[in-house]
Amino acid sequence: MGEQNDASSELAAGLVRAAAEGTPLAIVGGGSKSFLGRTPEGEPFHVRAHRGIVAYEPTELVITARAGTTLAEIEKVLTDSGQMLAFEPPHFGATATLGGTVASALSGPRRPYAGAARDFVLGVKMLSGEGRTLTFGGQVMKNVAGYDMSRLMVGAMGTLGVLLEISLKVLPLPAQTTTLGFPLDAAAAIEQMNAWAGKPVPLSGAYHDKDRLFVRLSGTARGVAQSVERLGGDVVENGRRWHELREHKLEHFEPGGKALWRLSVPPATPPMALPGETLIDWGGALRWLKSECQGEEIRAAVSRVGGHAMLYREGDRAGEVYHPLSGPLLKLHQRLKASFDPKGILNRGRIYSEL
């Protein structure tokens, strides 16, 4: 805590000034997600000084921290109390902040079974593009007063405002976690992951890499043991692989001159006939495609199955990175952007060139 880590007035003043002068700003926290989205435009606007955990009461299952707090610090405090961020966010670097994580809506392997970053956001304090302080949501689990502006900020990549403080729901750490490995090809793995997801199995992760399916089970000791018995497979290493998957440290994520695409699809979608190599996470719902294929071809294929594709790493960041929106939807995005950031100074063009 401490006043010295409260930089909200300086940040607000900075935004008021930039808005008056019409200076475009590129918001920078820990810089660990600088590779995400389109090439940042504008003067760097540093927000990391606004940091520290504001409130944490384990029995309330809620933590509130300033946006510049590192994920590492938050996770340490939670672990010490036997709790966790259940959406298992990737850090992509030691400097990763809570604000950047929420702004970019990053969720890890537990996401299909526990929920995404947006599912755990209870409230935010933020600055509008004009430097006004706004508080939405709160520190309680259920709150339907007013529109859900807090969740609107999740994944907005800082284009709607500068996050100051975020309240998150946290969950207890499971007592027992076990990982099972199965030799299966992609098509069979997708079927298997979805079959188990439709049964009362305590899944907390499921990914397919090369010819192996890995399934993580979490819960009470006896509950997990019972499921291990039912599912079969080999008990395999349980910690490092999930960390490496989350942090893109597995061999699959080594670029090798190809672009990395993030394909978000309905989980039971059969393997997609796109050139390149695919690692399947989120029980089938997330496909990490390493490919030299044209963006149009990838987007068309993903649209056909009801999903969306994002260029994640190693591609042309001056072009469109996120899946294009329909005309009316883009216009709606522009109107929403204008309502929070009338001068259009915040992270201009980071999601879409028109935004």
């Binding site: 809620v62 508080t135 309680v140 259920k142 529109y147 999740v154 439709g198 199995v201 019972q226 499921s227």
Partner: protein
């Protein structure tokens, strides 16, 4: 804004031309059933009612309304408790009851595409054979519609573990006031662009009209057990809840009832509750067989350690249903002993429970109006039921005043005025307590991004700055004068 000179007859004729005569209601007798929703204290006859059955018809209705600047209020099953579907005298009531089909069930991806008028429970019934269900289970699930659930972000008894509506839907097909169709969300777990799915969920019909919903389905738990623990002190019961989480367990359901609620419901359904307890906790555990057996053991001893005067585990399904029957009968039981009751919906940080209950009891005494408390203990959502008699002079006003004080108390301890029922017309004034001018300004700006001329459900959910200023006694945030944009006289 709508002019005073809406030609009602011309509108009726125009709607009839593409909806048919039976789907446009306009005489007093036909309009009567639509004059209120679940919040019956507020009534208003709509200008007219339309009952379209295709998306194209809804588009045309909206276009006609937009052209003529006629406000539109959407209505599902009309079970809402905050007056969100209260009609407007100069507005069209758009009833989506005919949109009652389940369009498809995808067992592999565990989703269902449904029309907004489908009843909540009907979804779980339709997918039961596949071992799946739709998790959010508001108490009105037998009657309430899924479209209304999305509009209000409905919760239920199991939302601590399984989430609210916002956590259990993937995509919406919506129509803007101009009749433009938009797909919000996707069939995948996330979608490109801003999280408009979250923004629309709980937007109380102010941003768009929902015409289709893709819901996520979950596997039915293999085993379910229910524990009942009695405490002679409400604070002890509250503390026990925190200790359950500390054990690493998130129960499927976790409900608390105070002594008044225990006695009232036990008289009504003979649930077999310990009627002398200050509070009881109902704790439902679900999961695989072994997991549940283990958790039942852990939590039974935890309750003992927390000072429970009695701990029971429902022996079989019949007893489990009987234990639940009391909690589920809380509202009708109160309805039996009191001519009228008023249901509140504040959410508080759980640690504040003893303080809030004590203060509520004091207020109850002060106003001479009994209050019965049922509480979604896991997520801090409190439903105080204020007992009164609407036929007694001035009692309605006293109830509203007491209710407002309870909600303000919720805000004061760091909570919110509504956990799951919505603001609607009922809590519109308390929004002025919860939010400052800057936030309200942005709510209006978001509304304007969707609905420039404020035609969708105007006057609900978000108060105008003028209304808040007129109420007086607004909260001053950080020493700033509230509503600086407004003139003062």
């Amino acid at each position: 804004m709508a002019s005073g000179a809406i030609d009602r007859n011309a509108l009726v004729a125009e709607f009839r031309s593409f909806l048919g005569a039976d789907s446009v209601l306009h005489d007093a007798e036909e309009l009567k059933p639509y004059e209120c929703d679940g919040l019956t204290a507020y009534r208003q006859t709509p200008l007219l009612v339309v009952l379209p059955e295709t998306i194209e018809q809804v588009q045309r209705v909206l276009r006609v309304c937009a052209e003529n600047q006629v406000p539109v209020v959407a209505r599902g099953a009309g079970t809402g408790l905050s007056g969100g579907a209260l009609p407007l005298a100069d507005g069209v009531l758009l009833v989506l009851a005919k949109f009652n089909r389940i369009l498809s069930i995808d067992t592999e991806n565990r989703t269902a595409r449904v029309q907004p008028g489908v009843r909540n429970l009907a979804i779980s019934e339709a997918v039961d054979a596949y071992g799946l269900y739709y998790a959010p289970d508001p108490s009105s699930q037998i009657a309430c519609s899924i479209g209304g659930n999305v509009a209000e972000n409905a919760g239920g008894l199991h939302c601590l573990k399984y989430g609210l509506t916002v956590h259990n839907i993937l995509a919406l097909e919506v129509l803007t006031i101009d009749g433009e169709r938009l797909t919000i969300g996707a069939q995948s777990l996330d979608a490109a662009g801003y999280d408009l799915l979250a923004l629309l969920t709980g937007s109380e019909g102010l941003l768009a009209i929902i015409v289709e919903i893709t819901v996520r389905l979950l596997p039915k738990p293999e085993c379910v057990r229910l524990l009942l623990a009695a405490f002679d002190d409400v604070g002890l019961a509250g503390a026990a809840v925190g200790k359950i989480f500390a054990q690493g367990i998130i129960p499927g359901g976790l409900e608390m009832m105070d002594n008044a609620a225990i006695r009232v419901t036990d008289d009504f359904v003979q649930a077999g509750y310990p009627t002398d307890a200050a509070a009881i906790l109902l704790c439902e555990l679900d999961g695989t067989e072994n997991e549940v057996v283990e958790q039942v053991g852990l939590i039974s001893s935890l309750f003992q350690d927390c000072g429970a005067t009695e701990v029971r585990v429902a022996r079989d399904e019949a007893e489990r249903q009987r234990f639940w029957a009391g909690r589920k009968a809380a509202f009708p039981a109160v309805g039996k002993i009191s001519p009228d009751y008023y249901c509140m919906d504040g959410t508080i940080p759980r640690r504040e429970l003893p303080r809030v209950l004590t203060r509520t009891a004091e207020l109850s005494e002060e106003y001479g109006l009994p209050v019965v408390n049922v509480f979604h203990a896991g997520d801090g959502n409190l439903h105080p039921l204020i007992l009164y008699d609407a036929n007694k002079d001035g009692e309605v006003e006293r109830v509203e005043e007491l209710g407002a004080k309870i909600l303000e108390l919720c805000v004061e301890v760091g909570g919110t005025i509504t956990g799951e029922h919505g603001v609607g017309i009922e809590k519109i004034d308390q929004m002025c307590v919860q939010f400052a001018a800057a936030e309200l300004h942005h709510f209006h700006a978001v509304k304007s991004a969707f609905d420039k001329h404020t035609l969708l459900n105007p006057g609900k959910a978000v108060p105008t700055l003028t209304r808040c200023a007129e109420l007086g006694g607004m909260h001053v945030h950080g020493g700033e004068l509230p509503f600086p944009d407004l003139e003062r006289f």
